[in-house]
């Protein structure tokens, strides 16, 4: 049968996603948020999620809807601060002990996802050494410098945004849309991309930015 990873609806895309899932959501600075899929996940009401998103309450991302709907029990991110002067819903829930929060340097956040997808359980990095974020983590010297052991992040589900997908699940991205998407797709058991358009014919080999081997389902959402 021809490989065909296209699905007809966001509901179909999310089929099989269970309570307690670790959900990886891409996006940075307004680019690359899979907001159609995130909204559908919210509507689905899947609970007890671990949300892995660089900026957990970015104003352009619907991840804050998941948080406000009480579906998230843990957040892994590099930025957990709301944009307003007051506390964001995430900060309120965190203050009240209702949400667990893990903050990583952004480079370690990205690298731990890449490690998760690349079969590397842990790696050493200089980022965070000598800071509060090193607390409880192993420090080890290589050569003349100290490094921190960081472990891989693996997700049950990745929700990423791309520009074009072909039936093989190959993806191309517009401009800075890729950001955490490729690493998240490789690190998730089920990787779903929402895209502007899907096509029957292949994306030319040199224009593919993420191989369909890493992508399980693609949904055309326009826009």
């Amino acid at each position: 049968m021809p490989i065909d990873k296209r699905v007809a609806s966001a509901a179909e895309a999310l089929e099989g996603v269970s309570d307690g899932a670790v959900v990886l959501c891409s996006g940075f600075g307004g680019a690359g948020f899979a907001n159609v899929l995130i909204a559908a996940l919210c509507e689905r009401g899947t609970r007890n999620l671990t949300l892995v998103s660089n900026s957990a309450t970015h104003r352009f991302s619907f991840t804050h809807q998941l948080i406000e709907a009480g579906l998230v029990r843990r957040v892994i991110c590099s930025a957990a601060r709301g944009h307003a002067a007051g506390l964001s819903p995430l900060e309120e829930l965190w203050k009240d002990g209702k949400i667990e929060l893990t903050v990583l340097p952004q480079g370690s956040f990205a690298e731990s996802l890449r490690a998760g997808g690349a079969g590397i359980p842990a790696y050493y990095t200089p980022a965070g050494v000598g800071t509060q974020l090193a607390e409880g983590k192993e420090i080890r010297r290589f050569g003349t410098r100290d490094y921190l052991l960081e472990e891989a992040i693996i997700g049950d589900l990745a929700l990423i945004r791309a520009d074009v997908a072909d039936r093989w699940g190959n993806l191309s991205f517009r401009h800075a849309q890729a950001n955490f998407g490729p690493a998240m797709a490789t690190a998730a058991r089920l990787a779903i991309a929402e895209v502007r358009i899907t096509q029957d014919h292949p994306i030319p080999p040199t224009e593919v930015q993420l191989s369909g081997v890493f992508v399980n389902r693609v949904l055309a959402v326009g826009g």
């Binding site: 680019a31 900060e91 903050v103 340097p105 952004q106 200089p126 965070g128 800071t131 690493a183």
Partner: protein, 227 residues
């Protein structure tokens, strides 16, 4: 005494950028450095979200929400640019391929310790972003910040009071009152605002300031802040 405004501080920092450098500019004052790079130089501006060769801000007609920098500003690409993903971008940063990163800060210590990520506001969530990777791994870390807080507290200190971003990483500090290098001996003032005496500056710091024998006046063009 006319302390530098934010654009003038960015201008001064930008004058130290050398031809051919790969430079990462932090959110806030540092990104303004991109507008003041000395004429005739070609510099590669790296944005942590993967834009390698960030250009000017996009005008209304060309603004594209998919083409943004680390501060979510809609930008253009410079000639010779490319875009990589976040993992590759931080591999570039962590791997020491950034010649200089220019960041904002709350405090810098005499040994180069940097505190720029957590102001300890009660219950505000942590926001570390890419600062720790940049501070720990760029070949040079330069800081743009006011010499004192709004309440007048010193930002140049014997030891940082706020949580560290990275230890011993800062090399140069561009402030509204002075340019300060961090050396093995501690803070070395290389430029001082006209009208301000070394004693005046020392009184505003929490650490011993050394003054370079050839300490020059800190002067910049007039640059008006936008309304």
């Amino acid at each position: 005494m006319h302390p530098l405004n934010r654009l003038q501080m960015a201008w001064r920092a930008a004058q130290d950028i050398e031809d051919g450098m790969v430079v990462n500019l932090g959110i806030g004052m540092p990104v303004a450095c991109g507008d003041y790079i000395r004429p005739g130089l070609e510099v590669v501006i790296q944005a942590e979200n993967g834009v390698i060769g960030a250009g000017k801000l996009a005008d209304q007609a060309h603004a594209d929400s998919d083409l943004v920098d680390a501060g979510s500003r809609r930008i253009t690409l410079a000639p010779g640019a490319t875009i990589i993903d976040s993992t590759a971008s931080f591999a570039m940063i962590r791997g020491g391929h950034i010649d200089a990163t220019i960041l904002g800060a709350f405090e810098v210590a005499a040994n180069g310790d940097l505190a720029n990520w957590d102001m300890r506001i009660p219950n505000k969530g942590p926001l570390v972003g890419g600062a720790m990777d940049l501070a720990a791994c760029a070949r040079q870390v330069w800081i743009i910040m006011e010499f004192n807080t709004r309440k007048g507290a010193p930002r140049l200190r014997e030891a940082c009071l706020l949580p560290l971003t990275a230890p011993g990483c800062v090399r140069r500090i561009f402030t509204d009152l002075a340019v300060v290098h961090v050396t093995a001996q501690g803070f070395l003032v290389t430029e001082l605002l006209p009208g301000l005496s070394p004693e005046d500056l020392q009184a505003r710091a929490d650490a011993k300031l050394h003054f370079a024998p050839d300490c020059r006046p800190l002067t910049t063009p007039a640059l008006a802040l936008p309304e």
